[in-house]
């Protein structure tokens, strides 16, 4: 086998190993394995006819370059018809691309609108059943805050435990108003110092208690705004004190608002180092963790282990729904319907291509016969027609992909979304079109190949 000057291997579509006539041919003709030397002269003069023997039998070939040329000519011969034939496939591919692109885009919009506050919050509680009778035993240790802030991705952590005050009333000192109510039932919450940051609390005035207060067991309290109003305390620079039962507490700060744990707004917050002693607090009931964006899932796994290395299974971490899960849920809903729609258009497109290609095979019987007479084998004819429909399908896939991407961009622009597309999509979609063409062209190509040149040539052109 020789290479054509174009560098295209002419050993193209035929099966391998055609026996070379000179060695195995039982013909009586004296033949020798001399390669046929055709003159490449521009003059097809008749004075130099090819030698009649001493030649090997020429084999018909259909070089890739010629095949591509024929396909191109066939597609461009009637551009309008080509476009109309491809229309179904164009729309099908466009529908698929637009569906996938829009689902992806919309899914990401929902995720980005997703509550950042919720996405960065992890809370750890003991599993139900970890309570024995009245006595609460918890696997959460008192130094939970220290253990958790060591984890990468945790920005703040704090324990929070409601304090049982045995219905003791709370009052503030200075005002003695005989008409007004001066004693209140106000919930008391014991926390570690890090909780304020973990709950994203903002100070109205004063300060939060800190690690020092906690360790020393200072009698300090921070008031939620609701509690402060009821106790008639609005400033801390005069060192107001409150009494819970008989215990006095210095108010060091008043919270303005918190992003998490709204129950703090109505509560008296005391350090849990104090509450352990004063209120016989035995176990931490919850740890609130503020994590970096994206770290929630990981911390949800790590926190129970960090808190209770011996029995992490006794702790339950509540993590926000992961963004990936949200996205895939949304996508699967949106996709199902439109993917079916796209698939149906593709099918219709394939039928369209098959139909027109079949008609064109019937129209071109003369051409098929001519090609056979000029040296095409059945396989060459089949490959040509198949190639034409694959090229048509691929072209339709390209146009459809463009159309689909355009749709995604336009819809995104009107909704002020950022269009998002999987990077494989623009490559896979034209291939889907080509595959459609392949499928659609199989029968017409077989039909073309089985056309009898005899009948084809006698028909009118």
């Amino acid at each position: 086998m020789t290479l054509l000057p174009g560098g295209v291997d002419p050993e193209d579509f035929e099966s391998l190993g055609q026996p070379q006539a000179p060695n195995q041919d039982p013909t009586p003709a004296p033949t020798e394995p001399i390669p046929q030397q055709k003159t490449a002269s521009a003059n097809p003069g008749l004075d130099t006819p090819p030698p009649t023997d001493e030649e090997q039998v020429p084999q018909s070939r259909f070089a890739w370059r010629d095949l591509l040329g024929e396909m191109l000519l066939a597609l461009t011969a009637r551009p309008a018809r080509t476009l109309l034939t491809a229309l179904g496939t164009i729309l099908g591919v466009a529908a698929l691309v637009a569906t996938l692109g829009l689902a992806k885009t919309a899914g990401n919009q929902i995720v980005s609108r997703f509550d950042e506050l919720e996405a960065t919050q992890v809370s750890v509680e003991p599993q139900q059943g970890a309570f024995e009778s009245n006595r609460q035993t918890s696997a959460i240790p008192w130094d939970a805050e220290d253990r958790l802030t060591r984890l990468n991705g945790v920005t703040a952590a704090g324990t929070i435990t409601p304090v049982e005050t045995n219905n003791q009333l709370t009052r503030s000192v200075p005002v003695n108003d005989p008409l007004g109510q001066t004693e209140f039932q106000i919930p008391v919450v014991a926390t570690s110092p890090g909780l304020f940051q973990a709950a994203r609390a903002q100070l109205f005035t004063g300060r939060f208690f800190d690690e020092g207060h906690n360790e020393r067991g200072d009698q300090v309290a921070v008031l939620g705004p609701g509690a402060a109003r009821r106790l008639n305390i609005s400033r801390v620079d005069n060192s107001p004190a409150i009494f819970i039962g008989d215990e006095s507490f210095a108010v060091v700060g008043i919270i303005a608002d918190t992003a998490r744990k709204p129950e703090l707004l109505n509560a008296i917050i005391v350090p849990d180092g104090l509450a352990k002693d004063r209120f016989q607090l035995e176990a931490v009931s919850e740890v609130l963790i503020d994590v970096e964006v994206g770290a929630a899932e990981l911390i949800g796994i790590q926190a129970p282990v960090a808190l209770a290395p011996n029995s992490p299974e006794e702790l339950r971490a509540a993590i926000p729904p992961s963004p990936t899960r949200v996205r895939s849920d949304v996508q699967s809903d949106v996709n199902a319907l439109f993917l079916i729609l796209g698939g149906v258009s593709l099918l219709v497109g394939a039928i369209g291509i098959a139909n027109v290609t079949l008609v064109s095979v019937l129209e071109r019987t003369g051409e098929i016969g001519l090609r056979r007479a000029m040296g095409a084998t059945r396989r060459h004819v089949a490959v040509q027609f198949l190639g034409e429909s694959v090229a048509l399908g691929g072209l339709a896939g390209l146009l459809g992909t463009s159309l689909g991407i355009l749709t995604v961009v336009v819809v995104s622009a009107t909704r002020e979304w950022s269009p998002i597309l999987d990077s494989w999509l623009p490559f896979a979609a034209p291939a889907v079109g080509a595959a459609t063409g392949l499928l659609a062209g199989t029968y017409p190509a077989w039909k073309a190949a089985s056309t009898e040149p005899i009948a084809a040539l006698r028909g009118s052109a």
């Binding site: 003709a29 009649t52 039998v57 020429p58 018909s60 040296g375």
Partner: protein, 227 residues
Amino acid sequence: MTAVVELQQVSRTFPGTPPVEALKPTDLTINKGEYLAIVGPSGSGKSTMLHLLGLLDTPTKGTYFLDGTDTGALSERERAGMRSARIGFVFQAFHLLSHRTTVENVMLAEVYRPDSSTGRRERAIAALEMVGLAHRLDASPTTLSGGERQRVAVARALVSKPSLLLADEPTGNLDTTTGNQIMALFEELHGAGLTLAVITHDDEVSSRAQRQVRIRDGVVDPVVAAS
């Protein structure tokens, strides 16, 4: 004189009930440079003869040597290659592709050839010059007259320098004047050394050949004296 075509007891039977013997065992030799007419009415076996000679069909029995090669032993691909390289076809219906220019139609003849990817256009132009159509290279076949179209078809048959030009009713779609022009072209080509076989039902056409054979009911007889 070397034989371009040599049929030895070639016959063709089409299966059926009863089987139809379209061509009875026939010996026929066409020598190099000969101009042969095969004449006969429709249904006489002309088409069968054309397809056998053109390697579009294989004989049921007998041996067909083309350029000394036993065509019965060839694969389909080799027979297709022989069609491409050794035989030029001219048809009654021209069979030009209407969406291509004249020169592109002629170039089509070399698409299936193994050794022809350079100079294809130059060879096509040269072939068109030989049939006197150098001025219509880029014309669409739809703008050509019937005679011009048939000359394009002849150029297409000539471009591969065939051993045998096989013409099937070449004047069948033409009026007398243009038909005569085509026949004159054939005579000119014959004069230049081309081997021709023209298959026709028309005695007037066949009478212009160097040698005639008459085919009737599948039997080929030489015509001794032309009218």
